[in-house]
Amino acid sequence: MRFNVNGVIYEEEIDHRRTLLEVLRENFGLLGTHKGCDEGQCGACTVLIDGKAVNSCLVLAISVQGKKITTIEGLAQGGKLHPVQEAFVESGAIQCGFCSPGMIMVTKAFLDQHPNPTEEEAKRAISGNLCRCTGYFQIIDAVMKAAEKMRKEA
């Protein structure tokens, strides 16, 4: 089977029962995508499939052939952090960091579609991802800050 992850082509024999999360972590060594609840409730495993944020624990790996997968490892380009990553670092949005890759991916997908969000929209955008450390305030700050950074870059 053929996978396109972060622009890299992986050709692997995959058990058809494996989830995308398992294949990313176990076959491709992309450990930045985290396994929390493993049932689509926490969002720690969020990746992008053709630009759309999904829980990779709920997706069978065989179903994503021919699609473009982006994980947290594919976000920083040329050694430079993506503006969403920068904003998360600067805003205190990262405490234990276990939810951060998922939060960052969901934020990226959201801001690609909504470059000028309200705080309420930002809140809603991350509401499928749990964070037990931050109480979300600084994550929402980060989303707003990232939006500003991305608008400036665009």
Partner: protein, 769 residues
């Protein structure tokens, strides 16, 4: 003279944030070793039974299974625990199982699927025993006994009395007695437990795991494996949050990873599922509380009494502390002469309870903080004014002997009042809107028996940077950043010049008790400051020699070392470090500073409660404003304001993050979170995040405001006290009081779910309440 600070007190991003933002931080489940096997745990399906036999023959025949361990594979009868009298846990059940979820056996196989399949092939023969799930039933004569050596299932008890409560109640114009309860909640960290064990041929047992207090794990592993501690090594990975003893203790997976490694000669990895995490211990103690407060009509609190029964679950863990802490915090932040406390922690056939952010102080404060509001309302007094009237002040000593050093409690109340619009809103809001105040005080580094001191090593490198080895464990709260800031400040370096160890390795990092009891900033922060000052002194001596100026004139600033009189002219710090290392003949030396810190206070006497449990205390006043939808019972938090005396905000961004997180975690317990259990066999009914609901971004207050009240503690590093844990206490009564203000009915049992709110509104309309 006020010290000019350049790194401490600044909102610097966390030193590990980039690694975490790019997915490069290695957490528990990310760690692997070549050739390793995968382990799975078999849990008891019955709540209380003798184990008659475990037949593993069929499971061992399954292709891919390499080894199985049961209780018999561990030193028989060797138990681990917090103190000698509470050692009641074994790595796997030996004689008995005591709750549904208790660990019975473990398999190592070539992959997780096979290990899982093998669990189904293990046959456990039980002789079922009567079980007990209610703590009051468990205390009765003739109730099923969980542990042979413990009568009436009293796991631990705490009694305390100062002054004369009866006299105090007689002197009061108004006395109330009320009952309150709280529920079981889980820590809710997102990263399940994970560990890799390697028992190497030299006899060394090494464990890699996501541990909050690696030295606790190291000691308990040695205890139950019957090894000298030097034969155990714990290496901490990044930790996907902690919030209490569920991350501090070793669990079955840790012991079994090592024992299965010993059996197979290969490393063995365990990763628990979220279901494992939610079913097993530890969790917050559910509390049943009968509390009594007496007050004069002028608003002076004369006496407080509490009777507490805490449901401890199947094992002790840190039970004696859990039941003692509420006693030790029954009075403070108030100055009151008469208190009495009787608390019992009781064994039941359920997952065991331990510490969780606010460790049992939060539960009693939920009760006492609401009762204070009730008494004030009855007497027509304002809780804010009463709080100020009874407040502790710097220099006070409480009846139990707590020495109040830095204390800005009064200012906390005043600033919370001002920022919340309290005076304009209290009892003046429209129907179904309410405002409530809660107050609290908290430890900064609980001083328990055993190990308390912290240590640190600071190594100055030839390129001018500095490496810090701390014993503190950063579980996300940011201790690595705070400690880096402290060292950078002392040495006149920017934060980017500091490298700090990402984790603990018990063989090599300086010793530190762990991340608990709100001790890290204070104890480990002080140790880091002392270590940095030691390194600074060593390099200053070199500077004094080469610059020919007195030692006390040497200044470290902006990567330079110069003398006061010769401002700006001096040495670049890297050149000076190299000079010290290379050019001083027989006196050449590497600059390595070290520091240890202990507060020096005496241990508290658990029998009487006499003593000083913490080197200093934090104080808080929170005000919460809510709106209740009378049709649905749903509560919306409009605004939360907290004024917190944290000594000094070492990093305002991190401090705000701690306060936010503490509030929202508490909000979950206040509104809906609950680990639900079957009444017949005690099994967890909601062991998944699908059914165990935690707050999302849609549940947070519409507005929140933190006020850091900086009382500059005389003993804290740069004046700092704890910040992350005390913040989760005052919010409990503040919220309860706001609900009362909104609907006119007092809800005394947590969580305050919409159905309870609706029922209360309905009963009030019918005139029942």
């Amino acid at each position: 003279m006020k010290e000019e600070l350049s790194v401490v007190g600044k909102g610097i991003p966390k030193v590990d944030a980039i690694l975490k933002a790019t997915g490069k931080a290695v957490y528990g489940a990310d760690f692997s070793l070549p050739g390793m096997l995968y382990g799975k745990i078999l849990r008891s399906k019955v709540p209380h039974a003798k184990i008659l036999n475990i037949d593993t023959r069929k499971a061992l025949k399954l292709p891919g299974v390499r080894a199985i361990v049961t209780g018999k594979d561990f030193p028989w009868g060797l138990k681990y625990g917090f103190t000698a009298i509470t050692r009641d846990q074994t790595p796997l059940a030996q004689d008995k199982v005591r709750y549904i979820g208790d660990e019975v056996a473990a398999v190592a196989a070539v992959d997780e699927d096979i290990a899982e399949e093998a669990l189904d092939l293990i046959k456990v023969e039980y002789e079922e025993l009567p079980a007990v799930f209610d703590p009051f039933e468990a205390m009765k004569e003739g109730a099923p006994q969980l542990h042979d050596h413990v009568k009436n299932n009293i796991s631990a008890s705490q009694h305390l009395a100062f002054g004369d409560v009866e006299k105090g109640f007689l002197e009061s114009d108004h006395v109330r007695e009320d009952q309150f309860t709280t529920q079981a909640i889980k820590h809710g960290f997102l990263e399940p437990h994970a560990s890799v064990g390697l028992w190497d041929p030299s006899g060394k047992a090494t464990l890699w795991g996501n541990k909050q207090s690696p030295y606790i794990v190291y000691r308990k592993l040695a205890m139950a494996l019957g090894l000298p501690p030097s034969k155990v090594r714990v290496i901490q990975t990044y930790v996907g949050a902690g919030f209490g003893s569920a991350r501090s203790d070793p669990f079955a997976l840790d012991f079994c990873a090592l024992m299965l490694s010993k059996k197979t000669g290969k490393p063995v990895k365990f990763v628990y599922t979220m279901e494992d995490v939610l079913v097993m211990g530890e969790m917050r103690h559910p509390f049943h509380m009968k509390v009594k407060t007496g007050m004069t009509k002028e608003g002076y609190i004369k006496a407080i009494q509490a009777y507490v029964v805490a449901d401890g679950g199947a094992y002790s863990t840190i039970g004696p502390v859990s039941i003692a802490l509420p006693a030790f915090f029954i009075d403070i932040p108030y100055r009151l002469p008469n208190v009495k406390y009787d608390g019992y922690r009781v064994f039941t056939n359920k997952g065991f309870c331990g510490s969780l952010r606010g460790h049992c102080i939060a539960q009693l404060r939920w009760a006492l903080g609401q009762q204070l509001d009730m008494v004030c309302n009855d007497l027509g007094l304002d809780i804010a004014e009463v709080s100020v009237k009874n407040a502790l002040h710097p220099g006070d000593e409480t009846p139990s002997g707590y020495k109040i050093t830095s204390c800005a409690f009064t200012e906390c109340v005043e600033r919370a009042v001002e920022a919340s619009g309290w005076k304009e809103k209290k009892e003046k809001l429209p129907p179904y809107r309410g405002i409530g105040m809660g107050t609290s005080s908290f430890i900064t580094g609980v001083k328990l028996s055993g190990h308390n001191s912290a240590s640190c090593v600071v190594k100055m490198n030839e390129d001018g940077t500095t490496s810090v080895m701390t014993g503190a464990t950063d579980i996300g709260q940011g201790s690595s950043t705070i400690i880096s800031q402290i060292v950078a400040e002392v040495l006149g370096l920017p934060i980017g010049d500091i490298t700090i160890n990402a984790g603990i390795d018990t063989d090599f990092t300086p010793i530190d008790p762990g991340t608990y009891g709100s001790r890290v900033s204070f104890y480990s922060g002080n140790a880091a400051k002392i270590a940095a000052e030691d390194a600074k002194k060593q390099l200053a001596e070199v500077a004094s020699k080469v610059m020919k100026v007195p030692l006390e004139e040497i200044i470290f600033k902006d990567r330079k070392v110069f003398s006061k009189s010769n401002h700006g002219k001096g040495w670049k710090i890297d050149a000076l470090i190299r000079y010290a290392q290379h050019n001083m003949g027989k006196e050449s030396k590497s600059i390595i500073g070290s520091g240890s810190y202990d507060s020096g206070i005496d241990f508290i006497d658990f029998k009487t409660g006499k003593g000083n449990i913490s080197p200093t205390y934090t104080f808080a006043a929170d005000v919460v404003e809510i709106e209740v939808d009378p049709e649905t019972g749903k509560i919306t938090i409009l605004k939360a304001v907290g004024a917190h005396d944290i000594g000094k905000a070492l990093n305002p961004i991190l401090c705000a993050g701690q306060l936010d997180g503490a509030w929202i975690q508490a909000e979950g317990q206040l509104l809906y979170e609950e680990l639900k259990r079957d009444k017949k066999d005690g099994h967890v009914l909601n062991p998944s995040f699908m059914d165990y609901k935690m707050p999302t971004s849609m549940d947070i207050p519409l507005k929140n405001k933190h006020i850091f009240v900086e009382s500059m503690d005389p003993d804290g590093p740069f004046g700092a006290k704890e910040v992350g844990e005390g913040a989760s206490v005052a919010i409990f009564p503040a919220f309860g009081n706001a609900v009362y203000d909104a609907i006119g009915v007092r809800i005394t049992d947590l969580p305050i779910t919409p159905d309870k709110v609706l029922k209360a509104i309905k009963e009030k309309k019918q005139g029942k309440k």
